[in-house]
């Protein structure tokens, strides 16, 4: 049996990779994918805790996370599309009208 810690470490590393992606990528869609990595990483933790505690709350939670992820994706991509209509690019660095 694998210790809980291993899962947590995996979760942490994946989360960090997700963060890295958000910080370095300029492609809005890829950035968004990286956010998904973060959410997935959390799911690992949730499920690992669940088994450790022998409960199902975490699984319900990650179920909800999936719902939320789906919702976010649909809205997010809609935003990207609507944005793309005005300005045909999804390079985030091009979106810099408002600052300071």
């Amino acid at each position: 049996m694998v210790e809980l810690e291993y899962y947590l470490i995996l979760s942490g590393i994946l989360f960090s990779i997700g963060v890295l992606g958000v910080l370095v990528r300029r492609n809005a869609i890829v950035v968004f994918m990286c956010v998904e990595i973060m959410l997935n990483a959390v799911n690992i933790s949730l499920i690992a805790f669940d088994r450790y505690n022998n409960q199902h709350d975490g699984q319900v939670f990650s179920f909800m996370v999936m719902c939320v992820a789906a919702a976010e994706v649909s809205v997010g991509l809609a935003i990207v599309i609507s944005m793309y209509r005005n300005k045909p690019t999804i390079n985030l660095d091009e979106f810099n009208l408002m600052k300071w």
């Binding site: 694998v2 809980l4 947590l8 990779i17 370095v24 890829v30 990595i37 088994r51 022998n54």
Partner: protein, 169 residues
């Protein structure tokens, strides 16, 4: 035994996640992400969360990633639009710093996990992670979140509709 499966899957998922980040083409990223999600489904299985593993495949790898691919195709993005490390000059330092920062973050996360000192867990009871078990919890204890989630999805639907429909009034 579990470890035997866990390590390769975990390594693979990490690699794929890195692939998402460092792939210069959005499609490549998306494909890596699908791979990573499948790996995670495997991890879920290792933890006896079978129901969730299936959902992972269906919702994430299936529905969500398809949507991603679809949008990428729709927008017909040129691949090399942003090559990762070819940052603007003045951002080089920033990028390096960012790298260190994230390393630090990862280190801290791992450290927390290592320090966690969880004792041995409880033995898994029968039917753990099955659809029935999860469903029972979901429809008794968590019926309210379940209902609220529906509103969430409704909002998302409206939102997607409002924002993405072609005809602008």
């Amino acid at each position: 035994m579990e470890l035997f499966f866990f390590i390769p899957i975990a390594l693979l998922s990490v690699l794929l996640a890195l692939g998402v980040v460092f792939n210069s083409s959005p499609i490549g990223s998306a494909v890596s992400l699908i791979g990573m999600m499948l790996c995670l489904a495997g991890v879920f299985v290792l933890q006896s969360a079978h129901f969730l593993a299936i959902l992972q495949v269906l919702i994430y790898a299936g529905a969500i990633m398809v949507l991603f691919m679809f949008v990428i195709m729709l927008l017909n993005l040129k691949t090399a639009e942003d090559s990762v490390w070819k940052s603007r000059e003045h951002n080089t330092l920033l990028s390096v710093l960012t790298g260190f920062l994230v390393l630090g973050l990862a280190y801290k996360m791992v450290e927390i996990a290592m320090d966690s000192n969880f004792g041995p867990g409880m033995p898994v009871k029968d039917g753990f992670g099955t659809t029935e078990a999860v469903g029972t919890v979901l429809f008794t204890d968590y019926v309210l979140p379940f209902e609220v989630a529906s509103i969430l999805l409704l909002v998302a639907m409206i939102g997607a509709l409002v924002l993405a429909k072609t005809k602008i009034d």
